[in-house]
Point group: C2
Chain length 159, copies 2
Amino acid sequence: MKKANAVILGLIGILICSCQESKVESSEIASSEKSEMLFEKGHKVPNDKFVGNVYQAILSDEGTRVSNVTFEPNGRTNWHNHPGGQTLLVTDGVGYHQEEGKPVQIIKKGDVIKIGKNVKHWHGGTADQAMTHIAVSIDHEKNPSQWFEPVSEEEYKVK
Amino acid sequence: MKKANAVILGLIGILICSCQESKVESSEIASSEKSEMLFEKGHKVPNDKFVGNVYQAILSDEGTRVSNVTFEPNGRTNWHNHPGGQTLLVTDGVGYHQEEGKPVQIIKKGDVIKIGKNVKHWHGGTADQAMTHIAVSIDHEKNPSQWFEPVSEEEYKVK
């Protein structure tokens, strides 16, 4: 083998290597896009009950309401409760949940949060991370959520 | 550069390339494991109401039951109904759903299936693919599911 051929072999090795690197990147992007789109994102909700950018799609609403909710970073609900109770299933990202009188919990993809009847609470993304959850609001038709004041900047800061 | 050095450069190029290739593989495995483990898998359910290997974890059960159900290929429910209705949210894989008197539907990750009150139906994986869904069984405490006969091999075959 000539010296020039050996150099070409080296360059081909590096070239194949670069191609595989870009494959990894596009695979990660595709996976992230797929993850965001597990269920319908829905429409931005008005800011009378929420702070920041929050999207909701109602997936079913037959007595119990099942909705898909996405909080952009800094987006959160006002304080509220559910007379029938609620279960949150986090399908993507990282966020916060707090029940009145208790510390803020960090919640993430795969977590299941059960909220008792009439427990005042709020939930949302963190200051720099989005969070998506399915919300199962039990017996929502007969006993809809009650809404209270926004979460203050002081309450939103995790101690 | 000597011929020997150039050959070494070539071999280093191929070596770096092989390392990156194995990185890609482990990243894909991690992603697949993560996907399977979005919510707790639970325990294998007995075969009095199901055919094949089916796993269930009850995530919450306050009036409305929220459960995570995984059907291995060929696994399926018997025919049954829900007096309060049910919503299925497919979080992974590909499977079948059929309401009595209607054709078999192919259902996949991201699909939401609403089943009316007392509608007789069955759901499961395909013959060669697993399927995982969250099942929201509305008002399950007061009105639990009613179970009927297994899905025959003839019914299970998609026409």
